[in-house]
C-alpha cells in the first residue's frame, strides 16, 4: 500500500484536483478525509466573516502623492534627463493613521521653539540645539523631488540653506538671499498660502499627521518652499533607520486629518 496522504494531499482530493488510488485501500485516510471535509465549511465561514479592514485615513494622501510623482515623471519637460528616478526612492509610507495621538507631542515641540523666540535670542543657539530643528524659508522650488531634496538636505539640517541655484532637478531663484531662521515659525512672513503652517497650532497639527504613532514628531528641519511651483513645506523627520531621514513635502492646508502630502522620500542622513 502506498504512503498515507498528508494534509495537502487530502486537501487536493477535496478540491477535486487529485484522486489517489490509496484512498480506496486505506480506511484511515478516508476517515481523515471525512474529518477534514467536515471541518472546511467552518473555516470558510470564518474567513467570510472577517470584516473588510478599514482604510487608513492617510492612504488617500499617499496614493495621491505617488500618482503626482508618477505624473511628473511622465512629463518630459518636468524631468531633466539626469534627474534620479523617484520611484525607487519612495521606500516607505509614513504611519499617519494614529495622527491624533501625536498632536500633543508636536505641539510641545513647536511651543519650545516659540519659547526660543520669546527669549530674545541671547540663548537661542543653545535652545535651538535643545529643541533640535531649524526653520528655513528658502523659497526653493523643489521640482524633482528626491534629487533636489537630497542636494539641499545637508544645508537644511545645518540651518544654512539658501534659495537654490538652478541645479540638477531643482529650480529656484539663483543667488537670492536665504531667509534661514533658527527661530519660531511664527516669526516668518504670514502673507502667503503657507501662513497656517507658520503658526504654532497649524504646524503642530501638520507634524502630527506626519509623525509615527508614539513618536514625538520632532522635526530635524523645516523649509518653507515650493514644489512644482506651488507653495509647500518641506519637513525632515528622523527615520526609524538611524542612517536615514524621512523627507515629506506637504502642501498648504496640511493638518492632522489630511497631510496634503505631495512627495515623500527616505534619504540618507548627511
Amino acid at each position: 500500500m502506498s504512503d498515507h496522504l498528508d494534509l495537502d494531499g487530502l486537501a487536493d482530493v477535496l478540491a477535486g484536483v487529485a484522486a489517489p488510488e490509496h484512498l480506496d485501500d486505506c480506511p484511515s485516510c478516508r476517515a481523515r478525509l471525512a474529518e477534514l471535509s467536515a471541518a472546511l465549511p467552518a473555516v470558510s465561514a470564518s474567513l467570510t466573516a472577517l470584516p473588510q479592514p478599514p482604510e487608513p485615513p492617510h492612504l488617500d494622501s499617499l496614493v495621491t502623492a505617488a500618482l503626482a510623482t508618477a505624473r511628473v515623471e511622465q512629463q518630459p519637460t518636468a524631468a531633466p534627463a539626469d534627474v534620479v528616478p523617484l520611484a525607487g526612492r519612495r521606500t516607505r509610507s509614513p504611519l499617519l493613521w494614529k495622527a491624533a495621538a501625536g498632536v500633543a507631542a508636536a505641539a510641545v515641540v513647536v511651543a519650545g521653539v516659540v519659547l526660543v523666540a520669546q527669549r530674545g535670542g541671547h540663548d537661542s543657539s543653545q535652545q535651538a540645539s535643545r529643541t533640535g530643528y531649524t526653520v528655513s524659508s528658502t523659497g526653493t522650488d523643489y521640482a524633482a523631488g528626491a534629487s533636489a531634496l537630497s542636494r539641499q538636505l545637508p544645508a537644511l539640517l545645518a540651518g544654512t540653506a539658501r534659495a537654490a541655484a538652478p541645479v540638477l532637478g531643482m529650480t529656484g531663484t539663483a543667488g537670492a538671499p536665504a531667509s534661514k531662521q533658527q527661530l519660531s515659525p511664527m516669526t516668518a512672513p504670514t502673507t502667503d498660502s503657507l501662513a497656517a503652517l507658520r503658526t504654532t497650532t497649524g504646524l503642530a497639527q501638520c507634524l502630527a499627521a506626519l509623525s509615527d504613532p508614539g513618536q514625538p514628531g520632532i522635526p530635524l528641519a523645516l523649509d518653507y518652499a515650493r514644489y512644482h511651483g506651488v507653495p509647500a513645506l518641506v519637513v525632515v523627520l528622523p527615520s526609524s533607520k538611524t542612517d536615514k531621514v524621512d523627507v515629506f513635502v506637504v502642501g498648504a492646508g496640511c493638518n492632522q486629518v489630511d497631510a496634503k502630502l505631495l512627495f515623500f522620500a527616505r534619504l540618507p542622513r548627511p
Binding site: D3, L7, L47, L50, H58
Partner: protein, 205 residues
C-alpha cells in the same frame, strides 16, 4: 471573459479617458477601488505599512500600464492582478515567512481561544501564517468574493491551482484553528501536530 456589467463599463470608460489624457479619470478609478486594493494588500502582507506601500506601488503601476489594458478581463480583475503582483513583489523581496508559527504546543485555554476566534483575531493570525500563495488565493476567493475563474485570471494560473491553493489553505487553517483532531499524515498523530512546512515556492499544482 466575464461580460462587462454597468460598473465595469464605467471603469473601462475611466481607464480609456485616462489613457486619452483626462487628468482626473485615473484618480476617480482609484477612489472607486482603493478600499478593495487596501483590503487585498493588508490581508496578503499582514503589515499596514507594507500594505500601504503595495497599494501605492499598484496604483503607480496601473497608472503607467493603463495603455496596455486590452479589456480581456474586468477592470477590477485587472486591478486585483496589479495589487497582487505588487504584494508578491514585496513579499518576495522580503523573503516573507509566516509571521505566526504553526502550533507546536497544545492549544491555550479554550475560553481564550473562543474569545479570540469571535473577534477574528485567530483567523487573521492563521491567515497570516499560511504560505503566501495560499493566502492570496483565499483572500481573493473567500474574502473578496472572486470566483475561482476570476482568481485564476488575477493570478494567471489554472483554475485547478486556485482550487488546490484554496483547499490547502483552508485545511491548514482548520489545523491552526483547532478544527482537526488528527491533522497530519498517518494515524495516529499526537494532538496539535502541525502540517509539514510549505514549499517556499508555493509549489502546489
Amino acid at each position: 471573459m466575464t461580460a462587462p456589467d454597468e460598473d465595469d463599463a464605467s471603469d473601462r470608460a475611466l481607464l480609456a479617458a485616462h489613457v486619452a489624457g483626462d487628468p482626473d479619470a485615473f484618480d476617480e478609478l482609484v477612489r472607486r477601488h482603493r478600499s478593495r486594493m487596501w483590503a487585498v494588500a493588508l490581508r496578503t502582507l499582514g503589515d499596514p505599512e507594507e500594505a500601504a506601500d503595495a497599494v501605492q506601488d499598484a496604483c503607480v503601476s496601473a497608472f503607467r500600464a493603463a495603455g496596455s489594458y486590452r479589456g480581456e478581463a474586468r477592470v477590477t480583475t485587472w486591478l486585483h492582478r496589479v495589487v497582487v503582483n505588487a504584494c508578491l513583489d514585496r513579499a518576495r523581496r522580503r523573503a516573507v515567512r509566516p509571521t505566526v508559527p504553526l502550533p507546536d504546543q497544545p492549544p491555550a485555554d479554550p475560553r481564550d481561544r473562543l474569545a479570540e476566534r469571535e473577534t477574528g483575531i485567530e483567523v487573521e493570525k492563521g491567515l497570516a501564517a499560511l504560505p503566501v500563495e495560499q493566502r492570496i488565493a483565499l483572500v481573493l476567493v473567500d474574502l473578496q468574493g472572486l470566483s475561482v475563474a476570476e482568481a485564476a485570471a488575477v493570478l494567471d494560473v489554472p483554475e485547478g491551482t486556485v482550487k488546490s491553493r484554496c483547499s490547502r489553505g483552508r485545511a491548514r487553517l482548520a489545523v491552526l484553528l483547532g478544527h482537526l483532531r488528527n491533522p497530519n499524515g498517518s494515524a495516529p498523530v499526537p494532538p496539535g501536530d502541525a502540517p509539514r512546512e510549505p514549499d517556499p515556492e508555493g509549489g502546489q499544482p
